[in-house]
């Protein structure tokens, strides 16, 4: 009797294990999980690996508030590479070089995926340039660029964390002082 009970218990445990294993196979990997949280687009651009706190900044740079196509924004997603990250999917939009340069300033690890027919056609890793032309506003109120119509220019002193120097007033600015034009 006791033996029967034991084998029944064993059987139940085995079944449990089986279910567990099945579940393990059914659990999507990180990528798939993310896809569930943010819907796919047929044509457009996906910007991935944005630092979580820069996600809305990127949306602002791309003026997504006024974009007429589909826009999906997700933040605080888990990322092995950068800890917590954000993703933005923009339907029906391809980025200009100037927009990619601007993104590189606030999200130096971002990747830009160009989507066609639900497929990634091209994957571009953004790159912080050595010179930033007319993208950033100088934080120095008495800099000539804030007082006369002049295109700003900054030299990148350090890429991570970003430190830049104004070509005109020679003032250095850290990541937190950077304001995109």
């Amino acid at each position: 009797m006791a033996r029967k009970k034991y084998s029944k218990r064993k059987e139940r445990a085995r079944k449990k294990e089986k279910i567990k294993a099945k579940k393990a196979i059914a659990i999507p990997n990180e990528e798939i999980k993310r896809e569930l949280k943010i819907s796919a687009i047929d044509e457009g651009t996906v910007i991935d690996h944005i630092p979580t706190d820069a996600t809305f900044k990127v949306a602002e740079i791309l003026d997504l508030e006024n974009h007429q196509g589909i826009v999906s924004i997700a933040t605080n997603l888990q990322s092995k590479r950068i800890g917590k990250k954000g993703i933005i999917k923009v339907g029906g939009k391809s980025l200009t070089q100037a927009e990619v340069s601007k993104i590189a300033i606030v999200a130096p690890d971002a990747t830009v995926n160009i989507i066609k027919n639900y497929d990634v056609k091209e994957k571009i890793k953004v790159k912080t340039p050595d010179v930033i032309d007319n993208v950033v506003k100088c934080s120095n109120p008495v800099c000539i660029t804030n007082n006369e119509q002049v295109a700003t220019k900054f030299y990148v002193l350090r890429k991570d964390p970003l430190k830049i120097k104004c070509h005109y007033c020679e003032r250095s600015m850290g990541k937190d002082d950077i304001e995109i034009i």
């Binding site: 008495v142 800099c143 000539i144 104004c166 003032r171």
Partner: protein, 305 residues
């Protein structure tokens, strides 16, 4: 070394060799003056804010070399009052002169002026940013009174936070293996980014608020005025005004051949009694503005090599 048509905007633009070359030409200007060197050349002085020494010494340097000077020292009497941009002012001036000296309260204005004008532009001070001709005459003075620039112990005292002369001189002297002593209250100490730069270049420095602490070590003591105009709150200024005073009692504890420099004007940082001692080098320093500015004018106009 060819300086023809070169702009003089920031001390950061010059290598050690270029700095030494300018000082060499300045020495030639002082020792063997050539009265007609800049005959037929015109200097435009565009002074958008007041200046005594810089404008007068540029005018004097140009006239001593038989050049002519046009310009203004008060922007209120010009088209700027009507809203003319700096860019347009420069585009207009380059038609009337061979070289331009500009002083402007906005930082980076001299760099913009140099981009607008096709003739050489010399920065006579752009706000708190750069004043390269002051730095060059400071280097010239140090070389003259000490016989060298290498391996000197240099103290800076006063407003090291806002003082642009201090910042530029620290950068320029960094080429010559100095030891620096930064003497100031914590609130007016040298900004961290300069210390980072010194650390990167492996240059030794000390920071203190005690004027007497390194008296025996210092070869050159560079004194600066606590600048009232830099303090948003007048009470803050009152707190620091007169905090350091160089007088005969201080000098008793200094090296016998220690020299005192000051970009002037002074308020009360250096007692008048110091003027007659062998330590005072600040009036000689002001006089050195002439050979240095002569050298720069002649070099950028292609009249000296």
């Amino acid at each position: 070394m060819d300086f023809k048509n070169k702009d003089v905007i920031s001390i950061n633009d010059f290598s050690k060799e270029e700095l030494l070359h300018i000082l060499k030409v300045a020495r030639q200007m002082e020792q063997k003056p050539k009265g007609n060197l800049l005959k037929g050349k015109i200097l435009a002085t565009l002074f958008f804010e007041p200046s005594t020494r810089t404008r007068l010494s540029f005018t004097s340097a140009m006239e001593q070399l038989s050049g002519e000077v046009i310009g203004f020292s008060n922007a209120n009497t010009t088209s700027i009052q009507k809203g003319e941009s700096l860019w347009d002012t420069l585009k207009m001036t380059e038609q009337y002169a061979d070289v331009i000296v500009i002083r402007h309260p906005l930082e980076g204005s001299a760099r913009l002026a140099a981009e607008a004008a096709s003739i050489p532009v010399i920065n006579g001070g752009d706000g708190s940013n750069q004043h390269p001709t002051q730095t060059l005459l400071d280097l010239y003075t140090i070389q003259k009174v000490k016989g060298r620039l290498e391996n000197l112990h240099i103290g800076f005292v006063g407003d090291l936070k806002y003082g642009r002369t201090v910042h530029s001189l620290v950068i320029a002297l960094s080429h010559f293996n100095p030891t620096f002593y930064f003497i100031a209250p914590d609130e007016l100490q040298i900004p961290e980014n300069y210390l980072d730069e010194l650390f990167r270049k492996k240059i030794k420095y000390f920071k203190t608020s005690d004027l007497n602490r390194f008296g025996k070590e210092i070869d050159i003591l560079y004194v600066t005025r606590i600048q009232k105009e830099r303090f948003p709150d007048p009470l803050e200024y009152e707190k620091f005004k007169g905090v350091y005073r160089i007088d005969n009692e201080f000098l008793q504890h200094a090296k016998k051949d220690m020299k005192i420099m000051h970009p002037l004007p002074r308020i009360d940082e250096i007692d008048k009694s110091v003027d007659s001692t062998q330590h005072a080098a600040y009036f000689e320093q002001a006089a050195n503005g002439i050979p240095v500015r002569k050298a720069l004018l002649a070099l950028v106009l292609g009249k000296a090599k």
